[in-house]
């Protein structure tokens, strides 16, 4: 059993009286691809925010490569190799696509100079297939391209753990297929990936293991097949109709 790369122990986060996360614990092994699902408002985005230092945890430990990083700032997380994408995409709108990615390489990816960073950025644009749009201002991109830009930026930061917060929401089926291939490629390069998504197609086709958050609590953690059959998960998240549809597919 390898040492987990990211481990949460009893993490809680409160907003005033609201308990957004209660006693959340789990661990990710290096290179693993794990899905995180849960109803709207369950606390998924909050979890990412806490792990990346955007929000301070109220209590609990966050271990990254064995070190407690609960008190880190976002930029420290980025430099350590903890990258994330935003549920609502956050580009630097007036900058070109390549500049956006260069920022990732320069500050998060440890590039020595702006020139080096540019080279790294180019590679990561090639990787996600955005190279043709490199000189467009980010604001002009359509949604799918913006989501790719988020990915490219995160990749340029040379992350060890990548947290994807609904990168596929709003994409249609064929676009999703492209995105899936891309994420698989990233995972194959050894990056640990945590996928947050409401599209079960994406979650199921990428991850063998699923975590389920509900009202800020981790109600299930285990192999995907078992999880989608779990009554609590169906009750809280999938709904009977959808679960039935899934089961049908499994039989087919």
């Amino acid at each position: 059993m390898t040492e987990p790369i990211l481990k949460l122990e009893g993490v809680c986060k409160n907003f005033g009286g609201l308990k957004a996360l209660t006693d959340v614990s789990f661990a990710l092994a290096p290179g693993e691809v794990v899905g995180l699902i849960g109803p709207n408002g369950a606390g998924k985005t909050t979890l990412v925010n806490v792990v990346t230092g955007k929000l301070p945890a109220s209590t609990g430990r966050i271990l990254f490569e064995g070190k407690d990083v609960a008190a880190q700032k976002p930029h420290e997380a980025a430099r350590r190799g903890l990258a994330r994408t935003f549920q609502i995409v956050q580009p630097f709108p007036q900058m070109t696509v390549i500049e956006n990615v260069t920022a990732g390489a320069l500050f998060g990816g440890g590039a020595a100079s702006v020139g080096d960073a540019r080279d790294m950025a180019r590679k990561s644009l090639d990787f996600v297939g955005l190279a043709p749009l490199a000189d467009r201002p980010a604001a002009q991109l359509a949604l799918a391209a913006r989501k790719r830009l988020e990915l490219a930026k995160s990749l340029a930061m040379q992350p060890k753990v990548l947290m994807l917060d609904e990168v596929n929401a709003g994409l249609n089926s064929s676009e999703i297929d492209g995105a899936l291939a891309l994420i698989r490629k990233i995972a194959e390069s050894g990056v640990t990936v945590l996928i947050i998504e409401h599209l079960m197609k994406v979650v199921l086709s990428l991850s063998k293991r699923l975590l389920v958050l509900h009202h800020g609590q981790m109600i299930a953690d285990g192999p995907a097949k078992e999880i989608v059959a779990d009554e609590r998960v169906i009750e809280a998240y999938l709904g009977q109709k959808y679960a039935a549809r899934l089961k049908e597919l499994h039989h087919a």
């Binding site: 699902i37 109803p39 709207n40 929401a169 709003g170 249609n172 709904g239």
Partner: protein, 242 residues
């Protein structure tokens, strides 16, 4: 009196539109009849939201005509379009922060002056979405994503539109929530509401609608009864895989 069954409630012919120098719609034809649920599906950036914005008056069409309820409404301002009877539930819910759920719903009735009817419609929205009644004094943006979507739809209903246009009903919602909202829409339609639904999740869209249009690059490429389209192998290949 025109025959309501035959004459479409909303009719677009050859509409083009866009932003500044970017043209997005390249000659859209589309019709919605009274009492129908019509779905509009298509790839990302096809121009679905742009189409709804053009209908609701946030964008002016550059060419073509938009007729609603027998009148041309192309180029009218949003308040005029709303008065004519079209409500637009925008992509991403766009509830007003700092206002309660109830105030948000009442803003849907901003242009209406019939106090008693407004109260009745509010009660009807609360009946349709009981959770909103429970939360009516809460700041709307503290609702969960699904509840916000209900509130947005409810706000659309509050203008008592002849046509309700909903953009991206299921975006970012849990499967269970999508199911729940779908049921609510069917209930609404049964009560006589005409609906134009833009939906990324094609399966859901076809299930909820009578007819559907498929859009690509600012044009309609396919149209027909939803059940037929769903059965069409070319369509299911391109748009349906679980």
């Amino acid at each position: 009196m025109p025959e309501p069954r035959l004459d479409p409630l909303l009719e677009l012919a050859g509409v083009t539109s866009g932003y500044g120098q970017i043209q997005v719609l390249w000659g859209m034809d589309l019709a919605v009849h009274s009492g129908e649920v019509v779905a509009l599906v298509g790839s990302n950036g096809a121009g679905k939201s742009t189409l709804l914005r053009t209908i609701s008056g946030q964008l002016a069409p550059r060419e073509g005509t938009i007729r609603f309820d027998g009148r041309a409404i192309g180029g009218a301002k949003p308040d005029a379009v709303l008065t004519a009877g079209i409500a637009h539930v925008p992509e991403g819910r766009r509830l007003f922060r700092g206002l309660t759920v109830r105030d948000n719903l009442l803003l849907g009735a901003y242009l209406r002056t019939d106090k008693d009817d407004i109260a009745r419609d509010l009660a009807w929205v609360f009946e349709l979405f009981p959770i909103l009644a429970e939360r009516q004094r809460q700041d709307a943006t503290t609702l969960s994503g699904g509840e916000q979507q209900m509130c947005a739809v409810g706000r659309g209903i509050m203008s008592r539109p002849k046509l309700l246009m909903i953009d991206e009903l299921s975006l970012g919602l849990s499967p269970r929530m999508v199911e729940h909202l779908g049921e609510a829409l069917i209930q609404l339609n049964k009560a006589g509401q005409t609906i134009l639904l833009v939906e990324q999740d094609v399966m859901t869209a076809f299930e909820l609608s009578h007819r559907a249009y498929i859009m690509e690059n600012g044009r309609v490429t396919r149209a027909g009864a939803s059940t037929e389209l769903m059965a069409d192998p070319t369509v299911s290949e391109a748009y349906l895989s679980i």
